[in-house]
């Protein structure tokens, strides 16, 4: 059967497209797999204070560059200053400038950061490390300390721990070095002498509602193929608080020309935001997999949220008919009934549906005695259905049954057509067949509703369009299913038993 090959290719392509699009949306764009997932957003405000010297001012603030964090948004507040944000590969900075500045000045830079979904790996350091040579006697003291540490450690990792321990002791070599250098500087020097890549960085501890924070000096050491951070001045780093690396390899945090008494302090606040909203708002326009759905006006988006549920309903219908063998009238009708149930809620929907259809059937049987042409009869049924809906709504409202008001959500034409089909069926095949097919349609509609109303499925249907490619593949595959339907196993039972 040669005709199967292209079919299988199409199905395979649909599955691959579906899965890769879901993967891309989740892993690359960070669309969460479950609805209502929250992500942490850190809002950091840098406050720069200085006193103007009545001359032009140029203030450069180095901006953080930490691959573990992603910038969500930023803004600056600084009246009458010209502001530019420069973003370059190795260094980003914001520059304020003003022709003449006198007196106390305050500049603000505010940025929101979230954890990067898949952080870029930091490059491995260059192989050849050349340590500075300190003046004597500091250089020999350092060498002694290092030799001491090397002796007591088996590998790089232990060496680092050993050096950390030694710096904390009141060894006289340590005391000598600390009289001139900071602990961090000593540590970096020792590491570089031992050919272990290490550098000084400054970072900000991200803790909610902190004000007047300073950058803290930190150490980054390359061990086991990864950079690890240490706080040498104040001991260990708390694992629970994230640290944003602000400065690395850059000369200074603030570079101020034309002012004095400059000071930079940070305040931090933490908030959470819907991960979904965040992922969609940060999606670049024209992204291949999002098809611009999220850039549509909200109204249209809501419309699509409804439309994109229909394939789920179709899948249910195909499954129940082809695999289970349930009888229902029409293919699309149960899906449409299910969409009305979404508006009305299940119980109200089923009760309303049964009420309208049964009253409609009675009235329609009278109409059939009037000897009308088909078109005018269906139109008459539509008008009668409207009448029934109005009547039920008014009566329910009078009785205080506000739930019944949702009956108005039923699409008129679906009700009229259901009544029409059911009454033809009744005349032709009897009430039993009406029960079988009508009941079948209702069961299919209820199952389709339960699927379509599931918040997780709704989330997936709208946010992962790849799901629809998978549904398409499943529907196509089921179209080729030639096995028995479940209910046929019951129907043909007598045949297998003789």
């Amino acid at each position: 059967m040669t005709s199967r090959t292209p079919f299988l290719i199409i199905v395979f392509a649909l599955i691959v497209t579906g899965i890769s699009s879901i993967y891309y949306r989740h892993v690359e764009m960070g669309v969460p797999l479950t609805a209502g997932e929250q992500i942490d957003i850190w809002q950091i405000e840098a406050e720069i204070e200085f006193t103007g010297k009545n001359e032009p001012v140029n203030a450069k603030l180095t901006l953080p560059k930490d691959p573990k964090f992603e910038l969500v948004d930023e803004f600056t507040a600084s009246p009458a200053y010209g502001v530019h944000v420069f973003r370059e590969e190795d260094k980003s900075e914001v520059v304020w400038s003003k022709r003449q500045v006198q007196g106390k000045q305050t500049l603000y830079y505010q940025a929101s950061y979230k954890r990067a979904i898949n952080p870029e790996k930091e490059p491995a350091p260059a192989e050849d490390i050349v340590a500075d040579v300190w003046s004597e006697p500091y250089q020999s003291s350092a060498q002694t300390l290092l030799n001491h540490a090397i002796e007591k450690s088996g590998n790089q990792q232990f060496l680092v721990l050993q050096v950390l321990n030694i710096i904390k002791t009141d060894n006289q070599n340590v005391a000598l070095l600390l009289s001139k250098y900071s602990k961090t500087e000593v540590f970096v020097q020792l590491m570089q002498m031992a050919k272990v890549p290490a550098m000084m960085v400054s970072g900000l501890v991200l803790e909610d509602s902190r004000r007047n924070q300073q950058l803290i000096p930190l150490l980054k050491v390359y061990i086991n193929n990864g950079w690890q951070m240490f706080n040498v001045e104040n001991g260990e780093l708390g694992n629970d608080l994230p640290i944003l690396v602000w400065q690395q390899n850059s000369p200074s945090l603030l570079d101020l020309v034309g002012g004095r008494n400059s000071k930079v302090v940070f305040s931090i606040s933490h908030s959470t935001q819907s991960a979904l909203q965040e992922a969609n708002s940060s999606a670049t326009k024209g992204d291949f997999f999002d098809f611009g759905l999220y850039h549509l006006p909200i109204d249209e988006q809501n419309l699509f949220k409804g439309i994109l549920l229909l394939p789920i309903g179709a899948l249910v219908v195909v499954f129940l008919r082809v695999i289970i063998g349930l009888k229902c009238s029409g293919t699309f009708m149960p899906i449409l009934i299910a969409t009305s149930f979404i508006q009305t809620e299940l119980i109200n929907g089923v009760v309303g549906f049964l009420l309208i259809v049964s009253v409609g059937l009675v009235i329609r049987s009278y109409l059939s005695h009037l000897n009308l042409l088909l078109v005018s009869r269906i139109s008459a049924v539509v008008i009668v259905v409207i009448g029934i809906i109005v009547l039920f709504t008014v009566v329910a409202f009078r009785m205080g049954l506000t739930e019944a008001l949702t009956i108005t959500f039923f699409p008129m034409i679906i009700m009229a057509w259901t009544i029409e089909r059911m009454s033809i069926l009744w005349e032709e095949e009897g009430g039993k067949e009406v029960l079988i097919q009508g009941g079948g349609s209702l069961i299919v509609a209820v199952i389709a509703y339960l699927m379509m109303d599931n918040y997780l499925i709704r989330h997936w249907a709208f946010n992962f369009l790849g799901v629809h490619a998978l549904i398409m593949a499943a529907v196509l595959l089921m179209g080729q299913y030639t096995g028995y339907r479940l209910l046929e196993l019951h129907r043909f039972k007598p045949l297998a038993e003789d």
Partner: protein, 316 residues
């Protein structure tokens, strides 16, 4: 209700399921462009007349609403008649009038209907109430079948017919469909009609079922099915096999009635015949379908050859 049988067991017995019928036989063998040949009864009738296939006489056709009253002119000359939609399906919209007298028109059930009822029925047919997809339709008025006394006491309140499945022109499986009170005079098995499996080789009854369960006697008349045999069986098989050339469809169900005077007549053809025939015969269709698929169809066999082949290979 919820006792199921293993699908492997069904497969072993060669029983064809609905999905396999739709996909492997109807979808593969029946050209959709040929469907109107069987879905439009007027077209079927004209084709049958051209091909020399015996069908009930056509008394008249009502195509337009203004013609509706003309039907009574046609009917004046005929006592009993049958009004059906040309594009109806599953026996929908068929009005059978046994005789006309001063009380009005008598239906098969013995109830009388007034003239207005007949007019309304035709109006409904023209509007497409019974046709597939609700398309506008025409009403076909046919002569009534004077059914053969062989079936006396076997069919209750309705005409018995013989459904023969023809695959690639070979008659393959047959059943006699008998109306019951439960089926309200209709011959559809799912409505409660009795299906009697018929041996292709001999035309004799094998077993009978109602509502998919085996029975031995007619539920209304209590007549035994054991010695039912269809007279003129060869002629019936030839008629059925000829429907293949006439319709062009390779998987086909032919509904044939036995008229007292005219012998077997093709009442209706069906491009999607149901699967209950397997239950009536107590056997699956797949072995026979597969058997016919292995025959070399490049050399065109005559109707007689095909019938003879079927009779020698499909005896039970």
């Amino acid at each position: 209700m919820f006792d199921f049988v293993s699908p492997f067991k069904l497969r072993d017995r060669g029983i064809m399921g609905m999905n396999q019928r739709n996909f492997s036989y109807i979808g593969r063998y029946n050209d959709r462009a040929l469907y109107p040949n069987v879905d439009d009864k007027l077209k079927t009738k004209n084709l049958a007349i051209d091909c020399g296939i015996a069908v009930p006489d056509l008394l008249g056709v009502v195509r337009f609403q203004f013609e509706v009253n003309r039907v009574f002119e046609i009917l004046e000359n005929h006592n009993g008649f049958c009004i059906k939609p040309a594009k109806g399906s599953g026996g929908k919209g068929i009005l059978v009038i046994l005789k006309t007298d001063e009380n009005g028109y008598m239906k098969a059930s013995g109830d009388y209907v007034p003239r207005e009822e007949v007019v309304r029925h035709i109006t409904n047919i023209l509007a497409g109430l019974f046709s597939l997809g609700g398309a506008a339709d025409v009403a076909v008025i046919e002569a009534l079948i004077q059914f053969d006394p062989t079936f006396k006491g076997l069919s209750h309140e309705g005409v018995p017919d013989i459904r023969i499945i023809i695959f690639q022109g070979y008659p393959m499986m047959a059943m006699l469909r008998l109306a019951t009170h439960a089926s309200d005079g209709k011959a559809n098995l799912h409505q409660g009609a009795v299906g009697v499996g018929i041996d292709i080789a001999t035309g004799k009854a094998k077993r009978a079922v109602q509502f998919d369960r085996p029975i031995t006697h007619h539920p209304d008349t209590d007549k035994s099915f054991a010695d039912v045999a269809i007279g003129n069986w060869d002629r019936m098989l030839n008629l059925a096999a000829g429907c293949y050339e006439m319709s062009g469809l390779k998987y086909l169900g032919a509904d044939i009635v036995l008229d007292k005077e005219k012998g077997p007549l093709v009442l209706e053809l069906n491009a999607r015949p149901g699967l209950a025939i397997q239950i009536a015969n107590g056997m699956g269709m797949l072995p026979r379908l597969k058997h016919i698929e292995t025959i070399d169809h490049r050399r065109i066999a005559s109707i007689e050859d095909r019938v003879a082949y079927a009779k020698s290979h499909f005896n039970d």
